[in-house]
């Protein structure tokens, strides 16, 4: 019965193509939906010119790129670029740093919104709840240039935080100048920027939890914490799993704006990541082939991670990204 219904729906959706004779070819299809195909021209041209042409350009990773000969005519170099990057200690360093900073984001930045969402969800005063959410979302809307500027002022040796520390008799902390402390700063700035915004999906999942479960827990004598542990957390479990898998899939991907705007010359041992390295080597020093090769290495690993994470989330019965 169900199958019958759905096929009926399908037929209804396709009713407009019915009058069309099946034997007619491509031309008649294009004629029938000429306007729709015309609309698609611009987006498709965009995708080809700005997405697929650069993919064709990846070949310079395997060539000695020469500006005058261009992408197609530069000579192949027998993997010399890859031999060069795989023997360079700096390459391993930026890969390690990318994994390190993303790993810390996963370890610290991932649980932060979950905890915050639980706290917000437990608030009983609606207005206070709304107002705090409004303020907690705010950092998400700032550019990394501005956050970088704020961080530099706030955490510099003479900034407010260190002034307060010395005022209370402590030693100033080298938040931005010591490379180990900088790693913590990078991670915590990420928490500051994203923890509030990250609560939205969890809070939405929490509103979907059946009230009766809480009442049943009340009857069973569960306390506040007991209800969080046995009702709220299981209720958002699938959201947590999906977001965790997604973030794991992006473990090799790192944006440019965040590390670039927080890093400085003193902390490059830990602060230099793949994106900023490609910028320095590829664009600033015009070693296009090396930049493209490092980028390709990253893209391929990203692709593998993303596809496997999508696969795993499907296996777990979740929907995946698409």
């Amino acid at each position: 019965m169900k199958a019958l219904n759905s096929s009926a729906v399908l037929e209804k959706g396709n009713s407009r193509e019915k009058p069309l004779n099946k034997r007619k070819g491509l031309v008649s299809y294009i004629k029938q939906d000429f306007i729709l195909y015309l609309m698609l021209c611009i987006p498709v041209a965009y995708i080809v010119i700005f997405k697929y042409v650069p993919m064709y350009g990846i070949q310079i990773a395997f060539k000695d790129y020469n500006m005058f000969q261009g992408v197609s005519n530069s000579p192949w170099n027998d993997f010399a670029t890859f031999k060069q990057i795989f023997s360079s200690p700096q390459f391993y360093q930026v890969v390690r740093n990318t994994l390190l900073l993303n790993g810390l984001d996963l370890l610290v930045g991932f649980p932060a919104p979950i905890i915050l969402a639980i706290l917000i969800n437990e608030l009983v005063w609606t207005r206070f709840k709304k107002a705090s959410q409004t303020i907690l979302y705010l950092p998400h809307f700032l550019s990394w240039v501005i956050i970088g500027g704020i961080v530099a002022q706030l955490l510099s040796p003479t900034g407010m935080v260190n002034s307060l520390i010395t005022h209370m008799g402590g030693e100033p902390l080298p938040f931005l100048t010591n490379k180990y402390a900088w790693v913590a700063t990078y991670t915590l700035v990420g928490v500051w920027q994203n923890a509030g915004w990250g609560t939205i999906l969890y809070l939405a999942a929490m509103t979907g939890i059946d009230r009766q479960l809480y009442e049943a827990a009340d009857v069973d004598g569960a306390g506040r914490f007991g209800k969080i542990w046995h009702v709220t957390l299981p209720g958002i479990r699938s959201t947590i799993v999906i977001l965790l898998i997604l973030q794991l899939g992006n473990i090799m991907a790192i944006n440019f704006d965040r590390p670039f705007n927080i890093q400085n010359n003193l902390v490059m041992d830990f602060g230099d990541v793949i994106s900023t390295y490609v910028y320095r080597v590829g664009i600033q020093s015009a070693n296009f082939s090396i930049g493209a090769a490092v980028g390709l290495f990253q893209s391929v690993i990203c692709l593998i991670f993303l596809l496997s994470s999508n696969f795993i989330s499907r296996k777990l019965g979740e929907n995946g990204i698409w």
């Binding site: 729709l36 042409v53 303020i135 407010m160 509030g196």
Partner: protein
């Protein structure tokens, strides 16, 4: 202790913890704001925390008197507006036809677009592409490469799909073609989704810094973010050379940061409303 009193205590404790989180969110802004409004003497002696000392607006006079800064703000406003207009149009042009299941090649086109979310050429091939198209140092370098986000296109497409089919069928029977249906029926019904997508694009363009750094070297074409980056990171050296600047560079920097933040703060009530709904449409789809 009775249960209700204990519960109240827990409520207050939780509220207190959330209040601390809110405070942590706000303090950096208050600090920058107070620095931008404080005197040289107060800043140098590290007395400024979250309220201004020796209130004055000298730093803002300098920032607003800096033609380059104001110009770059206005330029970025225009750039963002043009970008949103183009990006929204292109996104609609992709999303609407792709909702039609009868369209031949629809799945192929979707696959071609989705693939670009998983794999890309990378920074350098992108850069060389822009260079070969002679777009370096033109505003188009900041508009064309990002003029359609496949992710937002999918969000809009799933919104279009959620509209009742019967409306379109009726319009079709009345003799409307697909373009007329799109303009007269689908788009008017999709205003909230279109507003969300526009704001997503606008904030992206306003805040995005990387492409301006890569593609723009001409000072006249600096976006506000690139301009701010230079003010924040180069002003130490500038202040060292320029004897006329008797303001501490800290106050100037702080005022510049506020200058770049205010447009976002002004738009924030709308941003928050529509962004939350945007993230929900995206999640429901997922």
């Amino acid at each position: 202790m009775p249960q209700s009193v204990k519960n109240r205590m827990v409520d207050y404790t939780l509220a207190f913890i959330v209040l601390i989180a809110v405070f942590i969110c706000l303090v950096p802004f208050l600090y920058i704001l107070s620095q931008s409004l404080s005197s040289n003497r107060a800043i140098v002696s590290h007395a400024v925390t979250i309220y201004p000392i020796d209130f004055n607006i000298e730093a803002y006079k300098v920032v607003f008197g800096d033609f380059g800064m104001v110009y770059s703000l206005l330029y970025t406003v225009v750039l963002t507006a043009v970008f949103v207009l183009i990006a929204l149009t292109v996104t609609i042009l992709a999303a609407y036809p792709l909702t039609k299941k009868r369209l031949k090649g629809r799945n192929m086109l979707l696959l071609i677009m989705l693939f670009t979310m998983y794999f890309s050429g990378g920074l350098i091939p992108d850069y060389l592409n822009i260079k070969n198209l002679h777009l370096l140092n033109t505003p188009w370098a900041l508009i064309l490469p990002g003029m359609m986000s496949v992710y937002y296109m999918i969000i809009l497409k799933s919104f279009f799909q959620s509209l009742p089919d019967s409306l379109e069928e009726a319009a079709h029977l009345d003799g409307c073609n697909d373009l007329q249906i799109l303009l007269k029926i689908v788009l008017p019904l999709s205003k909230p989704a279109l507003a969300t997508i526009s704001l997503l694009y606008a904030v992206f363009r306003w805040n995005y810094f990387q492409d301006a750094l890569f593609y723009i070297t001409d000072q006249d074409l600096y976006t506000i973010q690139l301009k701010l980056y230079n003010v924040i990171n180069i002003s130490q050296q500038m202040a060292g050379e320029n004897v006329n600047v008797n303001l501490p560079s800290e106050a100037l920097k702080a005022a510049s940061i506020m200058f770049g933040t205010v447009p976002i703060l002004l738009a924030y009530p709308w941003l928050q409303k529509y962004f939350v709904s945007g993230i929900m449409i995206g999640a429901v789809k997922g």
